[in-house]
């Protein structure tokens, strides 16, 4: 991203108030309609009135990347739709850092002040400055931001998740697949399969973080058929809508412990160090101690 020939001169951009490492600012239709704003901070190094030639321009392009030249001169958008959001003069540039005045998110070139449905638009925030390279006499070196800063308007709902149900003992395991979407979480709801024309009485299961792929709905009644639906929520809280419902019927099962108890096992579980075990263990430890003492004494 650095178009400079000299390593000592840099400009870095970041989104203000959102941590120094945030370079992508996604927002949804609600944020757009709500006229939410954003700020950009900049830092520079190695730049002063002695080598910077003119003001630094900070602008938003109608593309996901920054052009190599000045705003409205080049780039994927033809260089005609860039919006300059701030101009930093030489004296301010020499201070090394500053903040661009707040801007409305909807005022990026890709939106043109609107908040359309079903769109996924990425516009880049860029910086541009001409400067004099060390040892050079002309101001023909160009400097851009070393960070790639992106405003991402996303009103496009994600695809509903793929789903598989595993009926188990008093529970249903819901296995979910993101279908290639980048998600925040899944929302799951379930209900007992209703009688003929009755509607299901939905209950909300715990949300599932999108980093995980399955969630158990517990406390269900064995032998009862349940219907389950899930929807994906993307990183800007766009819901996918619920997927096609599936059904599953929990069934009782025996693990090893259940099978053991059914076979008449006497073990009660928990720490069985009561009764004969404790004195026996103490006796055994005593024998070991005497043996060790005898060995030491012989030495």
């Amino acid at each position: 991203m650095l178009s400079s020939q000299a390593l000592a001169q840099t400009v870095t951009l970041g989104f203000g108030g959102a941590g120094t490492n945030l370079t992508n600012l996604p927002f949804n239709q609600g944020s757009c309609n709500g006229n939410d704003q954003y700020t950009v901070t900049w830092t520079s190094s190695g730049l002063s009135s002695s080598n910077a030639c003119g003001n630094m321009q900070i602008f938003v392009t109608n593309a996901s990347g920054c052009p190599s030249g000045a705003p409205n001169t080049s780039g994927a958008d033809g260089g005609t739709q860039d919006i300059v959001i701030d101009t930093v003069d030489l004296s301010t540039l020499a201070t090394g850092s500053g903040t661009v005045p707040s801007q409305r998110r909807r005022d990026i070139p890709g939106l043109g002040g609107n908040c359309p449905d079903g769109q996924d638009i990425k516009n880049a925030v860029c910086a541009y400055l001409q400067y004099r390279a060390p040892g050079a006499t002309s101001c023909d070196s160009q400097l851009g931001s070393s960070t790639n800063l992106t405003l991402n308007y996303d009103s496009k709902p994600p695809v509903p998740p793929g789903m598989n149900l595993l009926a188990q003992d008093s529970k249903i395991v819901v296995q979910l697949d993101p279908q290639g979407e980048t998600l925040l979480r899944y929302e799951i709801r379930y209900a007992e399969a209703p009688a003929a024309d009755a509607g299901p009485a939905w209950r909300q299961a715990a949300n599932l973080d999108a980093k995980k792929t399955n969630e158990s709905i517990t406390g269900l009644q064995n032998g009862v058929t349940y219907i389950v639906e899930a929807q994906s929520i993307d990183v800007v809280e766009n819901p996918s809508g619920y997927n096609d419902a599936q059904t599953a019927t929990p069934q009782a099962s025996n693990g090893f412990w259940g099978e053991y108890k059914d076979a008449g096992g006497h073990e009660l579980g928990g720490c069985s160090s009561a009764d004969a075990a404790v004195p026996s263990v103490l006796g055994a430890l005593g024998v070991l101690g005497v043996l060790a003492a005898l060995v030491r004494r012989r030495r």
């Binding site: 099962s253 053991y260 076979a263 720490c271 263990v281």
Partner: protein, 244 residues
């Protein structure tokens, strides 16, 4: 006696002026104390069905003829080294086995495998006292060392179904079993394969001997005869050991 023998050899050497005599010093005596560290693994089948009064063997019902994979380590302190060595130690291991749970229904699915897994997890701990007849190596240079061990056993165990501890009628499928065990084994001293490498290892790391071993374990793990879950087992383990 030895000095006279050396003089004779040196004299003979000087006389002929052609014979090269190499005197090999006897091996250094084994130090009186030290440590052993062993890594071992094997497979075992707990004798759950030995519990009196069971209508069936639940281990076989769930796991069939599968064995549990066992892995563990042991550290021993050599407390006495004379004609053989006596050590006391501590060993810890882990063993697990997973299989599908079994459906319990009133229809044709009864007895069929569930999508849920059930696991038996055991964590064998033991305090062994061992006698190693290592004069076979230290005096006779035979690289096989037989040994026997007597151990106090304590084994925490846990049964899971669907990833959590299984509970049946309020009784939790976990606990602690006590018992005792016998072990007989045979170690093969790897030093014999490369004496120089063994010396270098001793100099560089302090490891006096390295050995592989095979042993047979007879573990009686039933709370000293109390009727309950029987985790006794008879099994072989194999491993690698180091003596410091």
């Amino acid at each position: 006696m030895r000095a006279a023998f050396l003089s004779l050899l040196l004299g003979a050497s000087a006389a002929s002026a052609q014979t090269v005599v190499q005197i090999q010093p006897p091996p250094p005596p084994e130090p009186p104390i030290g440590f052993l560290f062993e890594l071992k693994m094997g497979t075992l089948v707990p004798r759950v069905g030995d519990e009196p009064g069971l209508s069936s063997n639940p281990y076989q019902t769930i796991y069939g003829n599968k064995s549990m994979l066992f892995g563990g380590g042991e550290i021993d302190f050599i407390a006495w080294h004379g004609y053989g060595a006596v050590s006391v130690g501590f060993a810890a291991g882990y063993s697990e086995l997973y299989a599908p749970a079994i459906l319990v229904t009133n229809d044709a699915n009864n007895g069929q495998p569930s999508t849920e897994k059930t696991a038996l997890l055991i964590f064998p701990l033991r305090l062994p006292v061992a006698y190693r007849f290592d004069v076979t190596w230290s005096r006779w240079r035979i690289p096989f060392v037989p040994y026997v061990k007597l151990a106090l056993l304590a084994t925490p165990w846990r049964v899971t179904k669907g990833g959590t501890t299984e509970v049946v009628n309020g009784q939790t499928g976990s606990g602690l079993k006590w018992g005792y065990g016998f072990t007989v084994g045979l170690a093969f001293i790897l030093d014999v394969l490369s004496t120089q490498m063994a010396k270098d290892m001793h100099t560089d790391t302090g490891i006096r001997h390295t050995y592989i071993f095979a042993e047979y374990n007879y573990d009686k793990l039933d709370d000293f005869g109390k009727v309950g879950l029987n985790l006794s087992a008879r099994y072989f383990t194999f491993g690698l050991g180091f003596e410091f």
